[in-house]
Symmetry: C2
Subunit: 287 residues, 2 copies
Protein backbone atom coordinates (compact mmCIF):
# COMPACT_ATOMS: atom_id res chain seq x y z
CA UNK A 1 0.00 0.00 0.00
CA UNK A 2 1.44 3.34 -1.08
CA UNK A 3 -0.11 6.28 0.75
CA UNK A 4 -0.04 9.32 -1.54
CA UNK A 5 -0.91 12.90 -0.87
CA UNK A 6 -4.57 13.85 -1.46
CA UNK A 7 -6.09 11.12 0.70
CA UNK A 8 -5.59 8.68 -2.14
CA UNK A 9 -3.77 5.40 -1.98
CA UNK A 10 -2.51 3.01 -4.56
CA UNK A 11 -3.01 -0.70 -3.81
CA UNK A 12 -1.57 -2.88 -6.53
CA UNK A 13 -2.69 -1.26 -9.76
CA UNK A 14 -5.78 0.29 -8.20
CA UNK A 15 -6.28 3.78 -6.86
CA UNK A 16 -8.55 4.13 -3.82
CA UNK A 17 -9.99 7.12 -2.00
CA UNK A 18 -10.75 6.46 1.65
CA UNK A 19 -13.26 8.39 3.68
CA UNK A 20 -12.90 7.92 7.42
CA UNK A 21 -15.94 8.43 9.60
CA UNK A 22 -15.20 8.92 13.27
CA UNK A 23 -12.24 6.48 13.18
CA UNK A 24 -14.56 3.48 13.36
CA UNK A 25 -15.86 3.29 9.83
CA UNK A 26 -13.86 3.64 6.63
CA UNK A 27 -15.33 3.65 3.16
CA UNK A 28 -12.98 2.98 0.27
CA UNK A 29 -13.95 4.00 -3.25
CA UNK A 30 -12.10 2.59 -6.24
CA UNK A 31 -11.06 5.47 -8.48
CA UNK A 32 -10.61 5.52 -12.23
CA UNK A 33 -8.96 8.92 -12.48
CA UNK A 34 -8.13 12.12 -10.64
CA UNK A 35 -9.95 14.54 -12.93
CA UNK A 36 -8.99 17.72 -11.11
CA UNK A 37 -7.01 18.60 -7.99
CA UNK A 38 -6.34 22.08 -6.67
CA UNK A 39 -5.58 23.65 -3.33
CA UNK A 40 -7.72 26.70 -2.68
CA UNK A 41 -7.19 29.16 0.21
CA UNK A 42 -9.77 27.12 2.11
CA UNK A 43 -9.30 23.47 1.28
CA UNK A 44 -8.14 20.88 -1.17
CA UNK A 45 -10.65 20.59 -4.00
CA UNK A 46 -10.72 17.38 -6.05
CA UNK A 47 -12.94 15.91 -8.71
CA UNK A 48 -12.41 12.14 -8.76
CA UNK A 49 -13.93 9.73 -11.23
CA UNK A 50 -14.99 6.63 -9.27
CA UNK A 51 -16.18 3.25 -10.48
CA UNK A 52 -19.39 3.10 -8.48
CA UNK A 53 -20.48 6.68 -8.00
CA UNK A 54 -19.12 8.31 -11.15
CA UNK A 55 -17.49 11.71 -10.67
CA UNK A 56 -17.31 12.96 -7.10
CA UNK A 57 -16.54 16.33 -5.50
CA UNK A 58 -14.11 15.83 -2.62
CA UNK A 59 -13.17 18.65 -0.22
CA UNK A 60 -10.15 17.69 1.88
CA UNK A 61 -10.98 14.19 3.10
CA UNK A 62 -14.76 14.25 2.64
CA UNK A 63 -16.93 13.39 -0.34
CA UNK A 64 -19.50 16.14 -0.87
CA UNK A 65 -21.55 14.94 -3.79
CA UNK A 66 -21.42 12.45 -6.64
CA UNK A 67 -22.77 12.09 -10.15
CA UNK A 68 -24.63 8.95 -9.03
CA UNK A 69 -26.78 10.44 -6.31
CA UNK A 70 -26.12 14.19 -6.06
CA UNK A 71 -29.58 14.83 -7.46
CA UNK A 72 -31.27 13.27 -4.42
CA UNK A 73 -29.72 15.69 -1.96
CA UNK A 74 -29.97 18.71 -4.25
CA UNK A 75 -33.58 18.11 -5.21
CA UNK A 76 -34.60 17.55 -1.58
CA UNK A 77 -32.85 20.61 -0.17
CA UNK A 78 -34.33 22.89 -2.90
CA UNK A 79 -37.75 21.74 -4.02
CA UNK A 80 -39.21 21.11 -0.57
CA UNK A 81 -38.81 24.73 0.67
CA UNK A 82 -39.70 26.07 -2.78
CA UNK A 83 -42.85 23.96 -2.73
CA UNK A 84 -43.84 24.85 0.84
CA UNK A 85 -43.47 28.61 0.13
CA UNK A 86 -46.42 29.51 -2.14
CA UNK A 87 -44.66 32.19 -4.15
CA UNK A 88 -40.88 32.48 -3.73
CA UNK A 89 -39.29 35.40 -5.60
CA UNK A 90 -35.95 36.00 -3.88
CA UNK A 91 -33.86 32.99 -2.94
CA UNK A 92 -30.56 32.86 -1.07
CA UNK A 93 -28.34 29.79 -1.16
CA UNK A 94 -25.49 29.61 1.34
CA UNK A 95 -22.79 27.15 0.35
CA UNK A 96 -23.91 24.84 -2.40
CA UNK A 97 -20.68 25.21 -4.37
CA UNK A 98 -21.53 22.20 -6.53
CA UNK A 99 -24.28 24.43 -8.04
CA UNK A 100 -26.84 21.64 -7.75
CA UNK A 101 -29.21 23.51 -5.44
CA UNK A 102 -29.06 26.65 -7.64
CA UNK A 103 -29.73 24.49 -10.69
CA UNK A 104 -32.91 23.13 -9.07
CA UNK A 105 -34.05 26.59 -7.94
CA UNK A 106 -33.55 27.87 -11.49
CA UNK A 107 -36.33 25.49 -12.60
CA UNK A 108 -38.89 27.94 -11.12
CA UNK A 109 -39.69 30.62 -13.70
CA UNK A 110 -41.39 32.83 -11.07
CA UNK A 111 -38.21 33.22 -9.04
CA UNK A 112 -36.61 36.61 -9.81
CA UNK A 113 -33.25 36.23 -8.14
CA UNK A 114 -31.03 33.48 -6.74
CA UNK A 115 -28.12 34.79 -4.69
CA UNK A 116 -25.55 32.08 -4.19
CA UNK A 117 -23.02 32.83 -1.47
CA UNK A 118 -20.17 30.33 -1.54
CA UNK A 119 -16.91 30.96 0.27
CA UNK A 120 -14.75 29.05 -2.20
CA UNK A 121 -14.85 30.06 -5.88
CA UNK A 122 -12.54 27.16 -6.69
CA UNK A 123 -15.33 24.68 -5.86
CA UNK A 124 -17.80 26.40 -8.18
CA UNK A 125 -15.31 26.55 -11.04
CA UNK A 126 -14.30 22.90 -10.63
CA UNK A 127 -17.93 21.70 -10.52
CA UNK A 128 -19.05 23.83 -13.46
CA UNK A 129 -16.22 22.47 -15.54
CA UNK A 130 -15.80 18.89 -14.34
CA UNK A 131 -19.00 17.84 -12.58
CA UNK A 132 -21.78 18.83 -14.92
CA UNK A 133 -23.88 15.81 -13.84
CA UNK A 134 -24.46 17.83 -10.68
CA UNK A 135 -23.90 21.46 -11.70
CA UNK A 136 -25.75 21.07 -14.98
CA UNK A 137 -23.48 23.67 -16.56
CA UNK A 138 -25.56 26.23 -14.71
CA UNK A 139 -25.79 29.55 -16.56
CA UNK A 140 -28.97 31.35 -15.59
CA UNK A 141 -28.89 35.15 -15.48
CA UNK A 142 -30.94 35.10 -12.27
CA UNK A 143 -28.13 33.33 -10.39
CA UNK A 144 -25.69 35.78 -8.77
CA UNK A 145 -22.51 34.19 -7.53
CA UNK A 146 -21.15 35.94 -4.47
CA UNK A 147 -17.85 34.50 -3.27
CA UNK A 148 -17.91 35.43 0.38
CA UNK A 149 -18.25 33.88 3.83
CA UNK A 150 -21.95 33.09 4.27
CA UNK A 151 -21.97 34.08 7.95
CA UNK A 152 -20.55 37.54 7.07
CA UNK A 153 -22.98 37.96 4.18
CA UNK A 154 -26.08 37.51 6.34
CA UNK A 155 -24.76 40.06 8.85
CA UNK A 156 -24.66 42.85 6.24
CA UNK A 157 -27.55 45.28 5.98
CA UNK A 158 -29.34 45.07 2.65
CA UNK A 159 -32.41 46.82 1.26
CA UNK A 160 -34.15 43.58 0.38
CA UNK A 161 -35.15 40.36 2.11
CA UNK A 162 -35.47 36.76 0.97
CA UNK A 163 -38.46 34.45 0.70
CA UNK A 164 -36.44 31.25 0.97
CA UNK A 165 -32.92 30.62 2.29
CA UNK A 166 -31.24 27.28 1.58
CA UNK A 167 -28.20 26.41 3.70
CA UNK A 168 -26.32 23.80 1.73
CA UNK A 169 -23.32 23.39 4.01
CA UNK A 170 -20.71 20.73 4.48
CA UNK A 171 -20.47 18.92 7.83
CA UNK A 172 -19.98 20.95 11.00
CA UNK A 173 -16.19 20.76 11.09
CA UNK A 174 -13.70 23.57 10.50
CA UNK A 175 -15.10 26.75 8.91
CA UNK A 176 -18.59 25.25 8.49
CA UNK A 177 -19.12 25.06 12.28
CA UNK A 178 -20.45 28.63 12.28
CA UNK A 179 -23.24 27.60 9.90
CA UNK A 180 -24.78 25.48 12.67
CA UNK A 181 -24.86 28.12 15.42
CA UNK A 182 -27.78 30.05 16.87
CA UNK A 183 -26.25 33.38 15.91
CA UNK A 184 -26.16 32.40 12.25
CA UNK A 185 -29.73 31.13 12.36
CA UNK A 186 -30.79 34.47 13.91
CA UNK A 187 -29.13 36.30 11.01
CA UNK A 188 -31.01 34.08 8.58
CA UNK A 189 -34.25 34.90 10.38
CA UNK A 190 -33.48 38.61 9.98
CA UNK A 191 -32.85 38.19 6.26
CA UNK A 192 -36.25 36.61 5.67
CA UNK A 193 -39.55 38.28 4.80
CA UNK A 194 -42.25 38.03 7.44
CA UNK A 195 -43.55 34.92 5.68
CA UNK A 196 -40.12 33.57 4.71
CA UNK A 197 -38.59 30.20 5.49
CA UNK A 198 -35.18 28.56 5.58
CA UNK A 199 -33.90 25.02 5.30
CA UNK A 200 -30.59 23.39 6.16
CA UNK A 201 -29.13 19.92 5.90
CA UNK A 202 -29.20 18.56 9.44
CA UNK A 203 -27.01 15.46 9.31
CA UNK A 204 -27.70 11.80 10.07
CA UNK A 205 -30.22 10.91 12.79
CA UNK A 206 -28.25 7.75 13.53
CA UNK A 207 -24.61 8.81 13.46
CA UNK A 208 -24.94 12.51 14.29
CA UNK A 209 -28.18 12.63 16.18
CA UNK A 210 -26.81 15.18 18.66
CA UNK A 211 -26.20 17.66 15.84
CA UNK A 212 -29.68 17.04 14.41
CA UNK A 213 -31.19 17.65 17.85
CA UNK A 214 -29.17 20.85 18.33
CA UNK A 215 -30.28 22.26 14.99
CA UNK A 216 -33.91 21.46 15.77
CA UNK A 217 -33.73 23.10 19.20
CA UNK A 218 -31.92 26.19 17.94
CA UNK A 219 -34.39 26.77 15.12
CA UNK A 220 -37.26 26.27 17.56
CA UNK A 221 -35.94 29.23 19.55
CA UNK A 222 -36.45 31.48 16.54
CA UNK A 223 -39.12 30.15 14.20
CA UNK A 224 -42.79 29.45 15.02
CA UNK A 225 -42.69 26.40 12.76
CA UNK A 226 -39.85 23.88 12.58
CA UNK A 227 -40.22 20.68 10.58
CA UNK A 228 -37.81 17.86 9.80
CA UNK A 229 -37.85 15.84 6.61
CA UNK A 230 -35.82 12.93 5.31
CA UNK A 231 -34.17 11.44 2.28
CA UNK A 232 -31.82 8.55 1.58
CA UNK A 233 -28.50 9.81 0.20
CA UNK A 234 -26.30 6.79 -0.56
CA UNK A 235 -23.07 8.81 -0.56
CA UNK A 236 -23.40 9.86 3.06
CA UNK A 237 -22.49 7.32 5.76
CA UNK A 238 -25.59 5.31 6.59
CA UNK A 239 -27.55 6.93 3.79
CA UNK A 240 -30.09 8.28 6.26
CA UNK A 241 -30.19 12.06 5.98
CA UNK A 242 -32.30 14.81 7.50
CA UNK A 243 -33.18 18.37 6.54
CA UNK A 244 -34.68 20.89 8.94
CA UNK A 245 -36.95 23.74 7.91
CA UNK A 246 -37.56 26.84 10.02
CA UNK A 247 -40.49 28.91 8.83
CA UNK A 248 -42.17 32.14 9.89
CA UNK A 249 -45.52 31.13 8.46
CA UNK A 250 -45.88 28.32 5.91
CA UNK A 251 -45.36 24.67 6.74
CA UNK A 252 -47.68 22.66 4.51
CA UNK A 253 -46.23 21.13 1.34
CA UNK A 254 -48.29 21.58 -1.83
CA UNK A 255 -47.60 18.36 -3.70
CA UNK A 256 -50.30 18.88 -6.31
CA UNK A 257 -48.58 22.07 -7.44
CA UNK A 258 -45.31 20.29 -8.20
CA UNK A 259 -44.55 20.04 -11.93
CA UNK A 260 -40.76 20.05 -12.29
CA UNK A 261 -38.62 17.65 -14.28
CA UNK A 262 -36.70 15.70 -11.63
CA UNK A 263 -35.08 12.33 -10.93
CA UNK A 264 -35.95 11.77 -7.28
CA UNK A 265 -38.64 14.08 -6.05
CA UNK A 266 -42.26 13.88 -7.19
CA UNK A 267 -45.68 14.51 -5.67
CA UNK A 268 -45.57 11.30 -3.62
CA UNK A 269 -42.15 12.10 -2.17
CA UNK A 270 -43.25 15.64 -1.28
CA UNK A 271 -46.26 14.21 0.51
CA UNK A 272 -44.29 11.58 2.37
CA UNK A 273 -40.89 13.08 3.26
CA UNK A 274 -42.09 14.63 6.53
CA UNK A 275 -42.94 11.18 7.91
CA UNK A 276 -40.47 10.70 10.76
CA UNK A 277 -39.54 7.31 12.25
CA UNK A 278 -40.42 6.65 15.87
CA UNK A 279 -36.84 6.89 17.21
CA UNK A 280 -36.44 10.34 15.62
CA UNK A 281 -39.67 11.57 17.18
CA UNK A 282 -38.28 10.47 20.52
CA UNK A 283 -34.91 12.12 19.90
CA UNK A 284 -36.63 15.37 18.91
CA UNK A 285 -39.17 15.13 21.70
CA UNK A 286 -42.05 15.36 19.23
CA UNK A 287 -45.53 14.15 20.07
CA UNK B 1 -1.56 -5.31 7.78
CA UNK B 2 -2.08 -8.88 8.91
CA UNK B 3 -4.81 -10.66 7.01
CA UNK B 4 -6.36 -13.26 9.29
CA UNK B 5 -8.93 -15.90 8.52
CA UNK B 6 -12.57 -14.87 8.93
CA UNK B 7 -12.40 -11.77 6.70
CA UNK B 8 -10.87 -9.84 9.59
CA UNK B 9 -7.63 -7.93 9.52
CA UNK B 10 -5.44 -6.46 12.19
CA UNK B 11 -3.99 -3.02 11.43
CA UNK B 12 -1.72 -1.84 14.24
CA UNK B 13 -3.66 -2.63 17.40
CA UNK B 14 -7.03 -2.42 15.70
CA UNK B 15 -9.17 -5.19 14.32
CA UNK B 16 -11.20 -4.40 11.18
CA UNK B 17 -13.86 -6.27 9.28
CA UNK B 18 -14.03 -5.36 5.61
CA UNK B 19 -17.09 -5.78 3.45
CA UNK B 20 -16.37 -5.61 -0.26
CA UNK B 21 -19.16 -4.53 -2.57
CA UNK B 22 -18.63 -5.36 -6.25
CA UNK B 23 -14.86 -4.74 -5.97
CA UNK B 24 -15.34 -1.00 -6.22
CA UNK B 25 -16.51 -0.13 -2.74
CA UNK B 26 -15.09 -1.41 0.52
CA UNK B 27 -16.51 -0.64 3.93
CA UNK B 28 -14.26 -1.21 6.92
CA UNK B 29 -15.75 -1.57 10.39
CA UNK B 30 -13.56 -1.25 13.48
CA UNK B 31 -14.22 -4.24 15.72
CA UNK B 32 -14.01 -4.47 19.48
CA UNK B 33 -14.32 -8.21 19.76
CA UNK B 34 -15.14 -11.43 17.92
CA UNK B 35 -18.03 -12.58 20.12
CA UNK B 36 -18.72 -15.82 18.30
CA UNK B 37 -17.33 -17.62 15.25
CA UNK B 38 -18.45 -20.96 13.92
CA UNK B 39 -18.45 -22.76 10.60
CA UNK B 40 -21.81 -24.32 9.82
CA UNK B 41 -22.49 -26.74 6.94
CA UNK B 42 -23.61 -23.70 4.95
CA UNK B 43 -21.38 -20.76 5.85
CA UNK B 44 -19.18 -19.09 8.36
CA UNK B 45 -21.32 -17.53 11.09
CA UNK B 46 -19.85 -14.71 13.16
CA UNK B 47 -21.12 -12.30 15.75
CA UNK B 48 -18.76 -9.30 15.85
CA UNK B 49 -18.96 -6.44 18.30
CA UNK B 50 -18.23 -3.24 16.32
CA UNK B 51 -17.58 0.29 17.54
CA UNK B 52 -20.21 2.01 15.40
CA UNK B 53 -22.94 -0.54 14.83
CA UNK B 54 -22.71 -2.59 18.02
CA UNK B 55 -23.00 -6.34 17.58
CA UNK B 56 -23.33 -7.57 13.99
CA UNK B 57 -24.30 -10.88 12.40
CA UNK B 58 -21.84 -11.71 9.62
CA UNK B 59 -22.36 -14.62 7.23
CA UNK B 60 -19.17 -15.36 5.28
CA UNK B 61 -18.08 -11.91 4.06
CA UNK B 62 -21.40 -10.05 4.35
CA UNK B 63 -22.95 -8.19 7.25
CA UNK B 64 -26.57 -9.27 7.64
CA UNK B 65 -27.86 -7.16 10.50
CA UNK B 66 -26.60 -5.06 13.37
CA UNK B 67 -27.73 -4.02 16.83
CA UNK B 68 -27.70 -0.39 15.66
CA UNK B 69 -30.21 -0.63 12.85
CA UNK B 70 -31.51 -4.20 12.58
CA UNK B 71 -34.87 -3.01 13.83
CA UNK B 72 -35.42 -0.84 10.75
CA UNK B 73 -35.20 -3.74 8.33
CA UNK B 74 -37.04 -6.20 10.58
CA UNK B 75 -39.88 -3.84 11.40
CA UNK B 76 -40.34 -2.89 7.74
CA UNK B 77 -40.33 -6.42 6.37
CA UNK B 78 -42.86 -7.63 9.00
CA UNK B 79 -45.28 -4.89 10.01
CA UNK B 80 -46.08 -3.64 6.51
CA UNK B 81 -47.51 -6.98 5.25
CA UNK B 82 -49.09 -7.67 8.66
CA UNK B 83 -50.74 -4.25 8.49
CA UNK B 84 -51.90 -4.58 4.88
CA UNK B 85 -53.50 -7.98 5.57
CA UNK B 86 -56.58 -7.25 7.69
CA UNK B 87 -56.51 -10.44 9.75
CA UNK B 88 -53.37 -12.60 9.46
CA UNK B 89 -53.55 -15.88 11.38
CA UNK B 90 -50.90 -18.11 9.79
CA UNK B 91 -47.55 -16.57 8.98
CA UNK B 92 -44.56 -18.14 7.24
CA UNK B 93 -41.10 -16.61 7.44
CA UNK B 94 -38.46 -17.93 5.07
CA UNK B 95 -34.92 -17.12 6.17
CA UNK B 96 -34.82 -14.52 8.90
CA UNK B 97 -32.31 -16.46 10.98
CA UNK B 98 -31.62 -13.42 13.16
CA UNK B 99 -35.16 -13.96 14.52
CA UNK B 100 -35.97 -10.24 14.17
CA UNK B 101 -38.87 -10.70 11.74
CA UNK B 102 -40.40 -13.46 13.92
CA UNK B 103 -39.99 -11.23 16.96
CA UNK B 104 -41.99 -8.47 15.24
CA UNK B 105 -44.67 -10.90 14.02
CA UNK B 106 -45.03 -12.21 17.58
CA UNK B 107 -46.27 -8.74 18.59
CA UNK B 108 -49.66 -9.60 16.99
CA UNK B 109 -51.80 -11.48 19.52
CA UNK B 110 -54.27 -12.55 16.82
CA UNK B 111 -51.66 -14.52 14.90
CA UNK B 112 -52.02 -18.23 15.70
CA UNK B 113 -48.86 -19.62 14.15
CA UNK B 114 -45.50 -18.38 12.87
CA UNK B 115 -43.58 -21.01 10.93
CA UNK B 116 -39.97 -19.96 10.55
CA UNK B 117 -38.06 -21.91 7.93
CA UNK B 118 -34.35 -21.19 8.14
CA UNK B 119 -31.77 -23.39 6.46
CA UNK B 120 -29.05 -22.81 9.03
CA UNK B 121 -29.79 -23.58 12.69
CA UNK B 122 -26.37 -22.21 13.63
CA UNK B 123 -27.50 -18.69 12.71
CA UNK B 124 -30.58 -18.90 14.91
CA UNK B 125 -28.62 -20.26 17.87
CA UNK B 126 -25.89 -17.61 17.54
CA UNK B 127 -28.42 -14.75 17.30
CA UNK B 128 -30.58 -15.99 20.16
CA UNK B 129 -27.53 -16.24 22.38
CA UNK B 130 -25.32 -13.36 21.24
CA UNK B 131 -27.48 -10.85 19.34
CA UNK B 132 -30.46 -10.29 21.57
CA UNK B 133 -30.73 -6.64 20.45
CA UNK B 134 -32.11 -8.13 17.22
CA UNK B 135 -33.48 -11.55 18.22
CA UNK B 136 -35.00 -10.25 21.44
CA UNK B 137 -34.41 -13.64 23.06
CA UNK B 138 -37.44 -14.80 21.13
CA UNK B 139 -39.39 -17.52 22.92
CA UNK B 140 -42.99 -17.48 21.80
CA UNK B 141 -44.82 -20.80 21.67
CA UNK B 142 -46.45 -19.76 18.38
CA UNK B 143 -43.05 -19.66 16.63
CA UNK B 144 -42.13 -23.03 15.10
CA UNK B 145 -38.54 -23.26 13.99
CA UNK B 146 -38.13 -25.50 10.97
CA UNK B 147 -34.52 -25.95 9.92
CA UNK B 148 -34.90 -26.75 6.27
CA UNK B 149 -34.26 -25.29 2.82
CA UNK B 150 -37.05 -22.74 2.23
CA UNK B 151 -37.41 -23.64 -1.45
CA UNK B 152 -37.96 -27.31 -0.55
CA UNK B 153 -40.39 -26.42 2.24
CA UNK B 154 -42.75 -24.50 -0.03
CA UNK B 155 -42.80 -27.41 -2.51
CA UNK B 156 -44.22 -29.81 0.07
CA UNK B 157 -47.95 -30.49 0.19
CA UNK B 158 -49.53 -29.37 3.45
CA UNK B 159 -53.10 -29.33 4.71
CA UNK B 160 -53.02 -25.63 5.55
CA UNK B 161 -52.18 -22.36 3.81
CA UNK B 162 -50.68 -19.08 4.96
CA UNK B 163 -52.10 -15.56 5.14
CA UNK B 164 -48.73 -13.82 4.99
CA UNK B 165 -45.34 -15.07 3.80
CA UNK B 166 -42.22 -13.02 4.61
CA UNK B 167 -39.08 -13.83 2.62
CA UNK B 168 -36.20 -12.48 4.69
CA UNK B 169 -33.33 -13.68 2.53
CA UNK B 170 -29.72 -12.69 2.20
CA UNK B 171 -28.46 -11.29 -1.11
CA UNK B 172 -28.95 -13.34 -4.28
CA UNK B 173 -25.57 -15.07 -4.22
CA UNK B 174 -24.86 -18.74 -3.56
CA UNK B 175 -27.72 -20.78 -2.09
CA UNK B 176 -29.99 -17.71 -1.76
CA UNK B 177 -30.22 -17.32 -5.57
CA UNK B 178 -33.17 -19.74 -5.66
CA UNK B 179 -35.15 -17.42 -3.38
CA UNK B 180 -35.32 -14.86 -6.19
CA UNK B 181 -36.59 -17.12 -8.96
CA UNK B 182 -40.04 -17.32 -10.54
CA UNK B 183 -40.44 -20.97 -9.57
CA UNK B 184 -39.99 -20.11 -5.89
CA UNK B 185 -42.46 -17.23 -6.13
CA UNK B 186 -44.99 -19.59 -7.75
CA UNK B 187 -44.59 -21.98 -4.81
CA UNK B 188 -45.18 -19.09 -2.43
CA UNK B 189 -48.32 -18.19 -4.38
CA UNK B 190 -49.55 -21.76 -3.98
CA UNK B 191 -48.93 -21.67 -0.23
CA UNK B 192 -51.09 -18.59 0.24
CA UNK B 193 -54.80 -18.36 0.96
CA UNK B 194 -56.92 -16.82 -1.78
CA UNK B 195 -56.56 -13.46 -0.04
CA UNK B 196 -52.94 -13.99 1.09
CA UNK B 197 -49.88 -11.88 0.38
CA UNK B 198 -46.10 -12.18 0.45
CA UNK B 199 -43.23 -9.76 0.81
CA UNK B 200 -39.52 -10.04 0.10
CA UNK B 201 -36.52 -7.79 0.45
CA UNK B 202 -35.75 -6.61 -3.07
CA UNK B 203 -32.30 -5.03 -2.82
CA UNK B 204 -31.01 -1.53 -3.56
CA UNK B 205 -32.64 0.46 -6.37
CA UNK B 206 -29.31 2.19 -7.01
CA UNK B 207 -26.70 -0.55 -6.80
CA UNK B 208 -28.83 -3.58 -7.66
CA UNK B 209 -31.60 -2.08 -9.71
CA UNK B 210 -31.60 -4.99 -12.16
CA UNK B 211 -32.45 -7.41 -9.34
CA UNK B 212 -35.20 -5.11 -8.04
CA UNK B 213 -36.67 -4.91 -11.55
CA UNK B 214 -36.52 -8.70 -11.97
CA UNK B 215 -38.33 -9.33 -8.69
CA UNK B 216 -41.01 -6.80 -9.61
CA UNK B 217 -41.56 -8.35 -13.04
CA UNK B 218 -41.60 -11.93 -11.75
CA UNK B 219 -44.14 -11.14 -9.03
CA UNK B 220 -46.27 -9.30 -11.58
CA UNK B 221 -46.54 -12.54 -13.55
CA UNK B 222 -48.25 -14.21 -10.58
CA UNK B 223 -49.98 -11.68 -8.35
CA UNK B 224 -52.74 -9.24 -9.31
CA UNK B 225 -51.22 -6.62 -7.01
CA UNK B 226 -47.51 -5.86 -6.69
CA UNK B 227 -46.27 -2.91 -4.68
CA UNK B 228 -42.80 -1.67 -3.76
CA UNK B 229 -41.94 0.14 -0.55
CA UNK B 230 -38.79 1.64 0.84
CA UNK B 231 -36.72 2.13 3.97
CA UNK B 232 -33.27 3.44 4.79
CA UNK B 233 -31.09 0.71 6.28
CA UNK B 234 -27.70 2.20 7.18
CA UNK B 235 -25.93 -1.16 7.28
CA UNK B 236 -26.60 -1.94 3.63
CA UNK B 237 -24.44 -0.24 1.00
CA UNK B 238 -26.06 3.04 0.06
CA UNK B 239 -28.67 2.68 2.78
CA UNK B 240 -31.44 2.75 0.19
CA UNK B 241 -33.47 -0.47 0.42
CA UNK B 242 -36.60 -1.79 -1.22
CA UNK B 243 -39.20 -4.40 -0.32
CA UNK B 244 -41.67 -5.85 -2.81
CA UNK B 245 -45.10 -7.14 -1.91
CA UNK B 246 -47.12 -9.54 -4.06
CA UNK B 247 -50.73 -9.85 -3.02
CA UNK B 248 -53.78 -11.80 -4.18
CA UNK B 249 -56.22 -9.23 -2.86
CA UNK B 250 -55.22 -6.59 -0.29
CA UNK B 251 -52.89 -3.72 -1.06
CA UNK B 252 -53.96 -0.78 1.08
CA UNK B 253 -52.07 -0.16 4.33
CA UNK B 254 -54.21 0.52 7.41
CA UNK B 255 -52.03 2.99 9.34
CA UNK B 256 -54.73 3.93 11.83
CA UNK B 257 -54.92 0.32 12.99
CA UNK B 258 -51.22 0.21 13.90
CA UNK B 259 -50.59 0.09 17.65
CA UNK B 260 -47.35 -1.83 18.17
CA UNK B 261 -44.36 -0.80 20.26
CA UNK B 262 -41.61 -0.14 17.70
CA UNK B 263 -38.49 1.96 17.12
CA UNK B 264 -38.81 2.84 13.43
CA UNK B 265 -42.24 2.18 12.07
CA UNK B 266 -45.32 4.20 13.08
CA UNK B 267 -48.53 5.37 11.42
CA UNK B 268 -46.71 8.05 9.40
CA UNK B 269 -44.12 5.61 8.07
CA UNK B 270 -46.83 3.10 7.10
CA UNK B 271 -48.63 5.88 5.22
CA UNK B 272 -45.51 7.12 3.45
CA UNK B 273 -43.31 4.10 2.70
CA UNK B 274 -45.00 3.33 -0.63
CA UNK B 275 -43.93 6.72 -2.02
CA UNK B 276 -41.45 5.84 -4.76
CA UNK B 277 -38.87 8.27 -6.18
CA UNK B 278 -39.15 9.26 -9.82
CA UNK B 279 -36.13 7.24 -11.03
CA UNK B 280 -37.60 4.08 -9.46
CA UNK B 281 -40.94 4.62 -11.14
CA UNK B 282 -39.07 4.83 -14.42
CA UNK B 283 -37.01 1.71 -13.69
CA UNK B 284 -40.17 -0.22 -12.80
CA UNK B 285 -42.15 1.24 -15.67
CA UNK B 286 -44.86 2.52 -13.33
CA UNK B 287 -47.22 5.32 -14.28
Amino acid sequence: MIKTENYLQKIGNDLWFTEVDRNNLKIDYRIKEVVHSETSPFQQVMILDSYDFGRMLVLDDAIQTTALDGYIYNEMISHIPLNVHPNPKNVLIIGGGDCGAAREAAKYPDIDKIDMVEIDETVVKACKQHLQEVSGNLSDPRVNFIFEDGTAFVKEKRDYLYDVIIVDSSDPVGPAVKLFELEFYRDLYNNLHEDGLMVCQSESPIFYSEMMINIYRRLNKLFPVVRVYMATVPTYPGGFWTFTMGSKKYWRPNPDKFDKDTLYINKDIIKSCFAIPEFMKELLDMD
